[in-house]
Symmetry: C2
């Protein structure tokens, strides 16, 4: 429905910008409110930084915060960063604690500190406390707003509190209440559903589940996935090193973090590193980020090509080899990347551990032998027909066969090795793989050729 | 915690296999139960098909179903497929409707039909009804188990029903009850939280939200994301074309499907197509799937290399060019893939529409000019030093400059064009991009070289 709407009026963002220019915050808020979140994101993806600043600056901080909370993370951070620190802080103040922490965490350290400096020091400290945690540990995924009750309360107290808060909470998930002792330590969990079946005068200690499962603020995403896999809970309380209740991490937040991690792995594998790129970000930022990755690659490429330089005489004698060098390089890269992808997925799913090098290698080498034989045979036949010389076919085919076996072996192992060494396998596996396979491929083709040179030139 | 445990005893799967061989279903179930879901997945990732069959076959169908439900989708389907159809059907019967549909949908059509043939015809039809829907529409994502009440019921009826069912439901999410008329059409939603605040004799029509939001069984993932972005609901009822209530799609299921889509895009972009590969799948299946992708690539590569073949004389005259051809090819591929990745992400987030070709091109071409200039300059200097001839540097540098501009332009546009034409951009973008950029890169280098040949060989 909204899809069709946009096809017919693709320039919603221009309407928003016009309304902002007329300094009409109420009409602007209404226009934005009438769009779905993805249409809002679409509109902001098409604005320049100046237009974004104008639209956000025209809205009331409250309306701007509603908007910001619905945009994709990278886009929200980019939009907030277009504003002056005081205007940004006014909007940030209207967000919930977890939204604040996510947004501030996505900003550059300078922008983040500038905005925090404009917040009341209490609020700024709360955000600093939440952003202290990495995005992918329980502390970074939890919300600090939750339903807490003292251990001395009765069911009536809880129901009264719920009735008061139910307006404010709206559709928020309040499946559990948390019971704390006078020191703030978690002592029980109260499934809200139970409230229906007990007398209101019952003390909550009689109904709560004592010794509840909780997770430390430092628990990582992988372990959290495990906790939610093992239990059907929709939320798990998060405690700090002293056992104090700090927040709740919801199943939904964990699932969302898994999605983000997978999306980020895809981007990194394609050479988009240093954060998600949106096409309305400034040119210099987009070009610089991409170039920092490309410039590493070009040096790796030069290293691999130096192998060809060593064999120029061979190549000069059998120029047909030059036709096949890029094929060997590209095909080995393709085979190796398939193995990288399988290792990355098996690591992500916990199906392989980084120390299982031999197992992975033995599984890859067999695939490499089969596929290398098929590809080597094919390219060998093509080379023989192309040059009319079966020895060229033999050289090229044997090189692709061996290099395929090598490529899948290296491709399978590199993510495990990088993980063990503490590097990010999503970023580094591709370039490392292709550099090694290029070098070896060129060595194999040109090495074989120089050994059989008198056969090739005859 | 479990992490450390496994490091010290990495061969849990051998213990499971041993216990299965001793035909001790109870000890085996206990051993499996003691593992976390990710340790279970790890163990099964290390078993051969025969071992998997033995372990699953030893367990009671009920225990086996618990295990299967916790494994990653691809692994669960592969494990079930190791069994004979009747043994598999006994396990499938113990799963919930949505689990059955997911599992059956992941099997090969032959395996699926063989298992369905062993189920009672009612159950088989239910599954067929659910698998009718694609994985990424509301009908495929919904669960058919839900809390339905006739429109004539009172709150007391609802609470009594809840009390009866609360044991069976355990920690399942029952935030909403659904109110249907005598024809089975959805007429209202009952927020369970409301039950706390009203008299038991109240008719549910007085409390329910009438005219509730519902989605059609055919609504796709992208639109569902929008619905859940727009509203804070944890679940939305799903109705068929006649308005009959068919199930509920939960926020969690939508988030999970988004994760799967993103993981699948990553795999496809790396050449793992036709389903997720696990290393304990049979060799022939793994090799065949990978090879079907590689064989398309090798023909595309041969096409690109034919450009080199046309210019063999030029290459023979200036053999140094052969050193730089693979660099131009690889670097253009890298630049183009960055643009592909940004387009893929912007499409996934709804920030760009497939018809915005000019906008994407204009955003890419500027990045291409900047990065192409930087890379072209660098490679030009290297080539000049390498050969002592500034004309070689000029040819190579200019070629990389122009080809980078071309690569980012094509890389940015290809996903949009493929999407418009109804192809899967995740699968086809990469090979299409690299073939075109290889061809153009070789043309540019060798074309420039043949024009300036007398300068290059002097």
């Amino acid at each position: 429905m909204s899809q069709e709407l946009d096809e017919s009026s693709p320039n919603t963002w221009e309407e928003l910008v016009d309304t902002a220019q007329q300094q009409d915050p109420i009409a602007l808020a209404e226009k934005i409110e009438s769009l779905s979140p993805s249409d809002q994101a679409f509109a902001f993806a098409h604005m320049t930084d100046e237009q974004t600043e104008q639209v956000l600056g025209t809205l009331s901080p409250d309306d701007a915060a509603d908007l910001i909370a619905g945009l994709p993370e990278a886009q929200a951070a980019h939009a907030i960063a277009t504003l002056e620190a005081d205007a940004a802080a006014a909007i940030v103040r209207e967000l919930t604690s977890d939204e604040q922490a996510d947004l501030i965490g996505d900003l550059s350290p300078e922008d983040a500190e500038a905005i925090l400096g404009e917040l009341p020091s209490d609020a700024a400290n709360d955000v600093r406390n939440l952003t202290r945690y990495a995005d992918d540990v329980a502390g970074g995924l939890m919300v600090s707003e939750l339903f807490k009750f003292p251990v001395t309360a009765t069911i009536r107290d809880v129901v009264d509190q719920l009735a008061v808060d139910s307006e404010r909470l709206g559709d928020r998930n309040i499946r559990y209440g948390y019971v704390i002792d006078e020191g703030g330590r978690l002592v029980g969990v109260l499934p809200m559903q139970q409230l229906l079946f007990v007398k209101r005068s019952t003390p909550i200690v009689d109904v709560m589940i004592g010794n509840p499962l909780s997770v430390p603020v430092t628990m990582d995403l992988f372990e959290l996935m495990d906790v939610f896999d093992r239990h059907r809970f929709l939320g798990v309380p998060v405690v700090d090193a002293e056992g104090l209740l700090r927040g709740v991490v919801h199943r939904e937040a964990v699932e969302h973090a898994v999605t983000l991690a997978s999306e980020s792995d895809y981007l990194k594998s394609q050479g988009i590193v240093g954060g998600e790129e949106l096409r309305n970000m400034p040119l210099w930022l987009r070009a610089r980020r991409r170039l920092s990755w490309l410039s590493i690659n070009i040096f790796l490429n030069l290293g691999a090509a130096s192998v060809i330089a060593m064999y120029q005489d061979t190549l000069q004698a059998v120029i047909a080899l030059a036709v096949f060098l890029p094929i060997i390089s590209d095909m080995s890269g393709c085979s190796g990347n398939q193995a990288v992808a399988v290792s990355m997925r098996e690591l992500a799913m916990g199906l392989v551990r980084p120390n299982e090098l031999f197992r992975v290698w033995s599984k890859e080498v067999t695939v490499g032998l089969v596929n290398g034989a098929a590809l080597g045979l094919l390219i060998g036949i093509v080379a023989t027909i192309f040059d009319g010389n079966p020895f060229l076919g033999l050289v090229v085919g044997a090189a692709l066969f061996l290099n395929t076996v090598l490529a899948v072996s290296i491709g399978g192992l590199v993510p495990l090795l990088l993980k063990r060494l503490g590097f990010d396998p999503a970023v580094a596996s591709g370039p490392l793989l292709t550099t090694i396979t290029d070098m070896c491929g060129f060595f194999l083709v040109l090495g074989f050729a120089s050994v059989t040179l008198n056969r090739l030139v005859s």
